[in-house]
């Protein structure tokens, strides 16, 4: 594929950061508060650290195939047909992921901001942007991220600063009321939403950063910093909205932004804050879609993924309308199916593949040595 793509480490860090913040920041306080109660912020921290384990796996996995995409590596290691078969779950996950993100955006807009506008309008407009970005390629996306990143930081800082007067730190007490146990599930949930989807970067990162150790560090840095934002939002949500309202709200962060009121002057600014989420959601959707489209391209043996962008984009839009029939289906899927699904595809499978890859590498190594001594 496009071997010419060169990303700077800085761009890569920003991409990882925005991607892991993605939709997480908008919705995660609700499930965390529902399960971990006032310890939701601790669960967020636990999930954030758990995410680092996942990243460690991805980075060491990527070390096995410098200069290749993940799917190409699968075909090389497991043979053409088994490799393609193993690539399928990843492609499917990316496909479902991108549809879900598109649905999220549309649902957020129709629930909170413009209830009379059909959800199709948002999905189409946003998908048009996605298709444009993907056709222009990774480098353009990366540069966009670099340009938009300061705006994200600005909006986030404004949000956090303007909300500090509302904090009631007593609301986090008592800490660890029921011990560590209720934290585990929400922490997994956090890692599944924020970190496991990062596997799509296996399609990007080994290709763009051959033999570069620093790229692994950039991966870690992105996830570390991205996690901080989400932990802060969860903390604010618990200390300002309280456990019950955080858990009940579909979009707790938006409810938080509505609370901003500085001297009756700076108020009703929540829509500006929503700009922050459009930013991060765009990159989440873009890289899910990138994982899906490049995966398909590899599957079909195409040299370039670009011709597939438009048709695949259309499929994603269409599936975003049907991926969840209702909001209730969304919350049911997320609290039951999504977590085991994400762990299987995003963690267990890569782990198996990693081990298989290691074994294969050793065998190859021995064969080479064996061949050497035979001669």
């Amino acid at each position: 594929m496009s071997d010419t793509v060169k990303l700077s480490l800085r761009q890569f860090t920003i991409l990882i950061l925005l991607y892991s913040v993605g939709t997480t920041i908008l919705v995660i306080p609700a499930p965390l508060a529902a399960d971990a109660r006032q310890d939701a912020w601790l669960a967020a921290i636990a999930g954030w650290l758990l995410g680092l384990v996942v990243v460690a796996l991805y980075v060491s996995l990527a070390r096995l195939f410098p200069g290749m995409t993940f799917t190409a590596f699968l075909e090389l290691t497991f043979g053409k047909w088994l490799g393609k078969l193993l690539a399928l779950p990843f492609i499917f996950f990316s496909f479902i992921g991108s549809s879900i993100v598109l649905y999220y955006l549309g649902n957020f807009m129709t629930t909170e901001i413009m209830p009379e506008t059909p959800i199709e309008a948002f999905a189409l407009l946003f998908a048009a942007l996605l298709v444009m970005g993907l056709r222009l390629g990774l480098e353009v996306l990366a540069r966009t991220a670099e340009i938009l990143f300061p705006w994200f930081i600005l909006l986030f800082t404004v949000l956090a600063l303007f909300l500090t007067p509302e904090i009631d730190s007593q609301k986090v007490l008592p800490i660890l009321e029921f011990g560590m146990k209720p934290i585990i599930w929400p922490a997994l949930n956090f890692a599944c939403t924020a970190s496991l989807p990062l596997y799509v970067f296996l399609m990007v990162y080994p290709v763009s950063f051959q033999h570069k150790k620093k790229a692994g560090n950039a991966f870690f840095t992105g996830v570390l910093i991205g996690g901080i934002f989400v932990v802060i939002v969860t903390f604010l949500s618990i200390t300002i909205l309280g456990v019950e309202l955080s858990a009940e709200n579909l979009y707790p962060s938006y409810a938080l932004a509505k609370k901003i009121n500085i001297g009756n002057f700076i108020q009703r600014v929540e829509i500006l804050m929503a700009g922050m989420w459009f930013l991060t959601i765009f990159f989440k959707a873009a890289f899910y879609a990138y994982g899906f489209i490049t995966g398909i391209a590899q599957l079909c043996g195409c040299k370039d993924y670009r011709p597939l962008v438009l048709p695949c984009g259309m499929i994603i839009v269409a599936s975003s309308f049907v991926v969840y029939p209702s909001v209730a289906a969304m919350s049911e899927f997320e609290s039951t199916v999504y977590i085991p699904f994400a762990i299987t595809v995003g963690f267990l499978l890569p782990l198996l593949i990693y081990m298989a890859g290691l074994v294969k590498k050793r065998i190859n190594h021995q064969e080479l040595q064996g061949a050497g001594t035979d001669d």
Binding site: P115, T117, P174, E177, L241, G242, E244, L245, A255
Partner: protein, 398 residues
């Protein structure tokens, strides 16, 4: 050719965007609701909406013979239906984003208001920055029908008056829907709401009322309404409401009366107050410690006092301590004995301090609460005595 054709098509596509916003709503099509009241009806609810009459509030242009706001009512089984039903009377769609007050009629409050609140928390148009108020001894509809002087919009009057009385006088509480809901669902705290009463009966319903220099019909906040299990169980009078404000650390500024050591009266201005409520479980018996720290100024003296002496100030500080402590104690006693509703959040304090004990207590907190031991400690500092030292009343006698 193809180039031209595609250009033409793009231009035509642009036309689609020119039709304007999808969900646009023009200002002249909206009836801006500033106050909404919910009362109990035979079947369901009676919803009263106070809508701004735009022509009458523009400065300098009002015709003068129409009221600045209009009130519409509709009855339906659910609140949402009732709000929509109003369009059969009103020329404009009811727009709730600028809501200032939500008033609950006394009867509905007594029978349970929780069910009536869902729509307000679910609807995307309604924000969370308006106050929820109980109409004391009357219906919400009567409250919304009273015209007020100075503020042309009565709902604004209610909103601002509640805001300033909380800041300067203390026995009122500005409760927003969010706070109300989180108190409803909390296991260790029951909600209160400010209560408003209508003075002068129907006199306030007509424009004539505000033509008087001292209107005969007006609205007045009178203490707090205590809720238990979603139902109104009674009211706190002004003094008890102040005690509530002290305990829940809502006092920003207020004036307290004290009697001088040798007869006469004295008013102290509380300029800052900070309360800490700590819970503790001693021998399975929950205990609450209330620590109040206030800073006060001397505001009015009607007796002989030598304010230039340090001993006098120390004496006054003692007086102020006792006064505030007694207000708090009477309030706690009244609520414990009469209402049995934990409006102070003592349960939450216990929960924070001793989660294990709380798990056992919370099952029958309702019965435990009236027996909770409450210890009050007040520490007052008087720093300033105003612009004069001793009162001129002392001088005259010499």
């Amino acid at each position: 050719m193809i180039r031209k054709l595609s250009a033409l098509i793009s231009v035509l596509l642009l036309l689609v965007l020119l039709t304007g916003c999808w969900s646009r709503r023009e200002l002249n099509e909206l009836g801006i609701a500033v106050g909404i009241g919910v009362d109990k009806a035979d079947k369901g609810y009676r919803v009263t909406v106070q809508i701004v009459s735009p022509g009458e509030i523009v400065s300098g242009k009002s015709s003068g013979n129409r009221t600045p706001v209009t009130v519409y009512e509709a009855t339906a089984e659910t609140i949402f239906e009732a709000i929509r039903k109003i369009t059969t009377k009103s020329s404009r769609e009811v727009y709730l984003a600028h809501l200032r007050v939500l008033i609950i009629g006394e009867q509905l409050a007594r029978e349970g208001m929780e069910k009536a609140l869902d729509h307000f928390s679910r609807d995307h148009e309604v924000r969370t920055d308006y106050f929820v108020i109980v109409a004391k001894d009357t219906t919400a509809s009567n409250v919304l029908k009273v015209l007020t002087p100075i503020e042309k919009i009565p709902a604004n009057n209610l909103y601002l008056s509640l805001n300033s009385s909380e800041k300067l006088w203390a026995p009122t509480a500005t409760i927003t829907l969010d706070e109300l809901i989180s108190d409803f669902v909390s296991e260790g705290k029951s909600p209160v709401l400010s209560a408003v009463s209508v003075i002068g009966g129907k006199a306030g319903h007509s424009q004539k009322n505000i033509e008087n220099i001292s209107p005969t019909g007006y609205l007045k906040y009178s203490g707090l309404a205590v809720l238990q299990g979603g139902k109104l169980v009674g009211y706190l009078n002004e003094k008890e409401s102040k005690g509530y404000s002290y305990i829940t650390d809502r006092v920003q500024n207020t004036v307290g009366l004290a009697s001088c050591p040798n007869g006469g009266k004295l008013a102290l201005e509380v300029i800052s107050s900070k309360t800490k409520v700590k819970g503790k479980v001693v021998n399975d018996q929950p205990q609450i410690q209330i620590e109040v720290k206030t800073e006060e100024n001397v505001g009015e003296v009607e007796c002989e006092l030598d304010l230039t002496k340090r001993e006098t100030i120390a004496e006054l500080e003692q007086l102020a301590n006792q006064k505030v402590a007694s207000i708090i104690k009477t309030t706690v006693k009244k609520v414990q004995n009469d209402y049995k509703s934990d409006i102070f959040g003592f349960g939450e304090a216990i929960h924070r301090a001793d989660p294990a004990a709380w798990r056992q207590l919370k099952e029958n907190w309702h019965e435990v609460f009236p027996k909770v031991d409450v210890i009050v400690n007040v520490h007052t500092e008087i720093r300033r005595i105003g612009t004069v030292a001793n009162s001129f009343q002392n001088e005259r006698k010499e």
